[in-house]
């Protein structure tokens, strides 16, 4: 991946909640067209890191930059417009709107803004991509769990973001859905999308991530090619706990 240029880069990114340091001095880069897994045990600061990148939370220190421009000082909506789009750990759809309108929200206001027929056509393309074109006029309450996740994915894809942040997008799916979900993310990877994947599901991490950054207690404990990282004794120790190792 070293032949690709860096798109997203964290330098000393830190988040304090009072006395608690949730993310401590975190450095890593995401290269163009790369799928980077951000993994680690519960409470290790993965989701907080995603919240810092997307601007849901302000950083307490350090910088985050997109294409060498610092974005960590910007509000969330401007970070989205610069080209970082995210899904939410607990799916968040707009309950009063149809699937089509939900995705339209990303098309009208996202990184690449579209309006009118152009936006409508692009929304339909994205719904086809995630396999929901037949449910365009359904309401979120009528959808299965994985379909709500597909809507959210289409909503972030539709703005043509430079970086996609997927926050446990595969969590909570049953085995069949998980397979569908993995192949959908693989399709995005094959399309050359740049993705940061916060994930727990090991099968997904193995089959999707080019590289992984492993966090534990707010710090990075390992980084590298997925297979190497997952066999790293320190990573195994972090996952299993100090006493069991």
């Amino acid at each position: 991946m070293s032949d690709h240029r860096t798109v997203l880069s964290l330098r000393g990114a830190t988040k304090r909640f009072g006395g608690l340091i949730a993310v401590n001095d975190l450095d890593f880069d995401v290269a163009e067209h790369e799928v980077l897994g951000l993994i680690g045990p519960n409470g290790s600061g993965k989701s907080t890191t995603l919240n810092l990148i997307s601007g849901a939370l302000p950083v307490s220190g350090g910088t985050i930059s997109l294409n060498s421009q610092i974005i960590s000082t910007l509000p969330a909506q401007q970070i989205t417009r610069r080209g970082v789009a995210r899904t939410f750990q607990l799916v968040r759809l707009l309950p009063s709107m149809t699937v089509f309108e939900n995705v339209m929200a990303g098309a009208v206001f996202g990184h690449r803004r579209r309006w009118g027929h152009e936006a409508e056509a692009h929304v339909m393309r994205m719904l086809e991509l995630v396999g929901l074109d037949r449910r365009a006029h359904a309401h979120p309450s009528e959808l299965t769990y994985i379909d709500t996740k597909r809507v959210e994915l289409a909503r972030v894809l539709v703005g043509d973001p430079k970086v996609l942040l997927l926050d446990e997008w595969l969590a909570g799916l049953n085995p069949t859905e998980l397979e569908e979900g993995i192949s959908l993310v693989r399709k995005l990877r094959d399309d050359g999308r740049t993705i940061v994947l916060v994930e727990h599901v090991m099968d997904a991490i193995r089959s999707l991530c080019d590289r992984c950054v492993v966090m534990s207690s707010g710090v990075k404990i390992a980084e590298g090619a997925t297979d190497a990282v997952l066999n790293d004794p320190e990573v195994i120790r972090a996952y299993l706990g100090e006493d069991d190792a």
Binding site: R86, R92, L94
Partner: protein, 309 residues
């Protein structure tokens, strides 16, 4: 889709034209009632433009209305009446913009309390100033026929319906609906939520101030309790909710029956109006949480479902 929205506009134009002809058909008492209906149509429709999609309940209508009334009352010594109406609109928009900047970052509940407090505070401040200067109220030196008030209001209503229709088709209107559903999603979709809310909140602010300015000559004599009556803010909310805020024409469906009902209540029970207003509010919230519009859409959905089976 476009065809039906343009036919909506045509229907709107025809209905407004018919409404404008009303004074030639009905008697004096009916025109007085029609002025009230037109006034609340203007206030409730513009209120719903902002509060409908965002679910931020504003109780500041009286503050803007009073601001407009006083703009006309004080300004008549210096400027012609027709200049004072748009001027009041500018003042109302600026005041709404300032309130918006100060409060719209807060969540809904704080916004309700703040707007209520603000309206009361404005009234108290004006009262204080008047007491300090030894002035009691302001006499309005001009006078109009009831029909003139009515036509001014119908004209303003036409403008509001046009603006509301345009907003409904715009990015701003769509942004407001997204904000009302989930503000967090709105932000992460790339919407400047604070700016969108402040911009749209300026519309009911401007409209209520313009309405206040238009109505000043009708009062003849204005003092804080008339211009800034808190009852007005509540009436607007109740009427808009009764009609339903899901559609542009929703509030007017609440305004017409409620204005007539109100006329009866204040004629028959002049001392219990506040109590009865409260009861009406409770009844509407319990029985018609989405107003007549919500009821209509529910019935329509049921009918079309019935056809499907």
């Amino acid at each position: 889709m476009n065809k039906s929205t343009y036919s909506d506009v045509l229907i709107g134009v025809v209905l407004l034209a018919l409404a404008a002809c009303l004074p030639w058909v009905v008697g004096d008492f009916a025109v007085t009632l029609a002025v009230n209906i037109a006034m609340f149509t203007v206030l409730a429709t513009s209120w719903a433009l902002f509060s409908g999609p965002t679910h931020y309940i504003s109780l500041a209508t009286a503050a803007f209305f009073g601001l407009g009334t006083y703009t006309a009352g004080i300004g008549l010594d210096y400027l012609p009446f027709w200049v004072l109406i748009p001027l009041a609109g500018v003042f109302g928009a600026v005041m709404a913009g300032l309130i918006g900047l100060a409060t719209l970052r807060l969540s809904g509940v704080y916004f309700v309390i703040f707007t209520l407090g603000l309206a009361e505070m404005t009234r108290q401040v004006i009262t204080y100033i008047q007491n300090a200067t030894g002035q009691k109220g302001i006499l309005i030196s001009i006078w109009f026929m009831e029909t003139t008030f009515y036509w001014m209001l119908v004209g303003l209503a036409a403008v509001i319906f046009l603006v509301g229709w345009l907003i409904g088709r715009s990015r701003l209107g769509f942004a407001l609906r997204i904000i009302g559903d989930d503000e967090e999603v709105a932000r992460h979709s790339g919407i400047n939520t604070a700016l969108s809310k402040v911009l749209l909140f300026m519309i009911p602010g401007a409209v209520a101030a313009m309405t206040g300015a238009m109505m000043a000559p009708r009062y003849g004599y204005i003092e804080p309790l008339i211009a800034f009556t808190p009852m007005l803010s509540f009436q607007v909310v109740i009427m808009a909710l009764l009609g339903g805020t899901g559609r542009l024409w929703g509030p007017i469906v609440g305004v017409i029956p409620f204005s007539i009902l109100w006329e009866l209540i204040s004629a028959s029970f002049p001392n219990q109006t506040t109590l009865l207003l409260g009861l009406c509010f409770l009844a509407i919230v319990y029985l018609l949480p989405n107003g007549f519009v919500g009821l209509l859409l529910k019935i329509r959905a049921r009918v079309s479902q019935g056809e499907g089976f």
